[in-house]
Symmetry: C2
Subunit: 308 residues, 2 copies
């Protein structure tokens, strides 16, 4: 079993490649729920949905989230009722949130509802939310604290972030099978996602980071920052403002207590010696994924680290 830790768009694109080279029933994805929030009383799980929609080939390919060719009739009407509409939710996308919310209200855990959605979309992977408990990523600017989605979507990452915090992290427990799957994995891949807020929100849950340290499985990370910049999202910016070097070196330092191998892009070849000096094997290859072929090739590079 290949176990992956995943955020949103970057992870989903990598996973598209992975399921082309590994049967879906051999893939477990531990997904980030720190970005989850409520809109209109509906529980929205952006990262879980990005993963499922992308792997089901239903995602909007340009935006990287939501369903392809979705319409926005419902939200246009919600705007008439005075609701905020800065977080775009398409009509078909809303079905996912309505279904999830209804099931959660009935008392089912997020992991069970997520399994329903995975199956309804025709997938055969195991997608585990990192936790079934409330865990929400907040960022603190010089003036105030805000939910990650407000920072990311509403304010378009403009505020200068001083601090990131995970609300609920003191009590959140890993969802069932999360720790077990890490302990029993044949290999673990940290997807190319934001180390601070996506992977970071998974690592922050008690028991997960220590399982990564304790597991016998080799752990390979794919560096999400190429030449000091992220392909998508604010990881570079966030790392800088929080005092991490926005590069493969900063990522390596952040993961160094559990990471065996870091895959870095050709353009960052010169950083390899420093990463190696942290005790992390470094594989240099093309990490930018332009085509499905790129994605599958990158997956194969990661998997090759598990053959020993």
């Amino acid at each position: 079993m290949i176990v992956t830790l995943a955020g949103g768009v970057g992870a989903a694109r990598f996973l598209q490649g992975l399921i082309r080279v590994v049967p879906q029933d051999h893939v477990t994805v531990i997904g980030n729920v720190g970005d989850d929030t409520e809109f209109y009383g509906l529980h929205v799980s952006p990262d879980l949905d990005i993963v499922t929609y992308t792997l089901a080939s239903l995602v909007d390919p340009l935006k990287g989230w939501g369903f392809r060719d979705d319409t926005f009739q419902c939200q246009q009407m919600l705007q008439k009722y005075g609701c905020n509409t800065w977080f775009n939710l398409g009509d078909r996308d809303l079905a996912t949130h309505i279904y999830r919310t209804q099931q959660l209200i009935r008392g089912r855990p997020l992991s069970a509802v997520t399994a329903d959605i995975v199956s309804a979309l025709g997938l055969n992977i195991t997608l585990l939310p990192s936790t079934n408990d409330l865990l929400q990523t907040y960022v603190v600017s010089s003036t105030r604290k805000m939910h990650f989605q407000e920072y990311m979507v509403k304010l378009q990452t403009r505020p200068n972030v001083r601090r990131v915090l995970f609300k609920g992290v003191e009590t959140a427990k890993p969802a069932p099978k999360v720790v077990q799957s890490i302990m029993k994995a044949d290999g673990i891949i940290i997807c190319p996602s934001n180390p601070i807020v996506s992977i970071g929100a998974i690592l922050a849950i008690q028991g997960i980071r220590s399982a990564l340290r304790d597991t016998q499985a080799p752990i390979v990370g794919i560096n999400p920052i190429i030449a000091g910049k992220t392909v998508k999202g604010p990881a570079d910016k966030l790392m800088k403002s929080l005092g991490y070097e926005p590069s493969a070196i900063g990522v390596a330092r952040y993961y160094k207590d559990f990471l065996d191998t870091l895959i870095v892009d050709n353009v960052d070849r010169k950083l390899a010696p420093t990463i190696r000096s942290l005790g992390i094997k470094t594989v240099v290859t093309q990490t930018l994924m332009r085509s499905m072929r790129d994605k599958a090739r990158l997956a194969r590079v990661a998997l090759s680290e598990f053959k020993s």
Copy 2:
């Protein structure tokens, strides 16, 4: 102030005529909530929405409910998640239910949320739900008890109804202003709606029927049954199976403790003497509403009863 008691499609069509001859801010509608139910965890108020959508000229004119030209993307997706879809909810329509549910969960009463929706749709009438409490219309067939929407929409009124009951009626209180508006009205109109399940669910709430008996305001009913048949809905069928005569006479008997005048269709002219013998003034005119002109004319006939 003209106060009306209203069910769904028949009432809404009559009210379209009424607001053409009376300023909207002189019209109070006491709406039926007995048909309310939950789909996908969302609170749906079919009759209130039929009234608002119709009066806002947004209703689907053929179906008589839902928004004109609405799409069904969300529900198609909900079907993939295994949800029942026998109750059609369009994408824009869902916004109403999402908004209402969110506001109710926040603790606001249905009457306040309904006022928001009325205003958001550009209307200036007062639409009062009969009650803010739980009241649900059930019908009992020879084999089982079912919610009115299941009988009406899912089973297409096929079961033979032995009994109608209003769940919650023992404790449901009239919503604020319902009884006061009846007591202070200049005239009251019982819209051409199902006497048993639509108007009946309003009359069943403690204090409403007695207010109608006690008020000084003249009360005019518009008979919804023409030549023994309803224009829309199962009123004729229900009345018959419950032992009421499915005609203007049965309606007159059902309302006779408070009704001053019943407007009956030309084709039922021969029933007038029997209705008069019940102590109810009978006005014979065309009650079938084919055009907006018909609706306005019928409204004027009803209003003429208030000039004395």
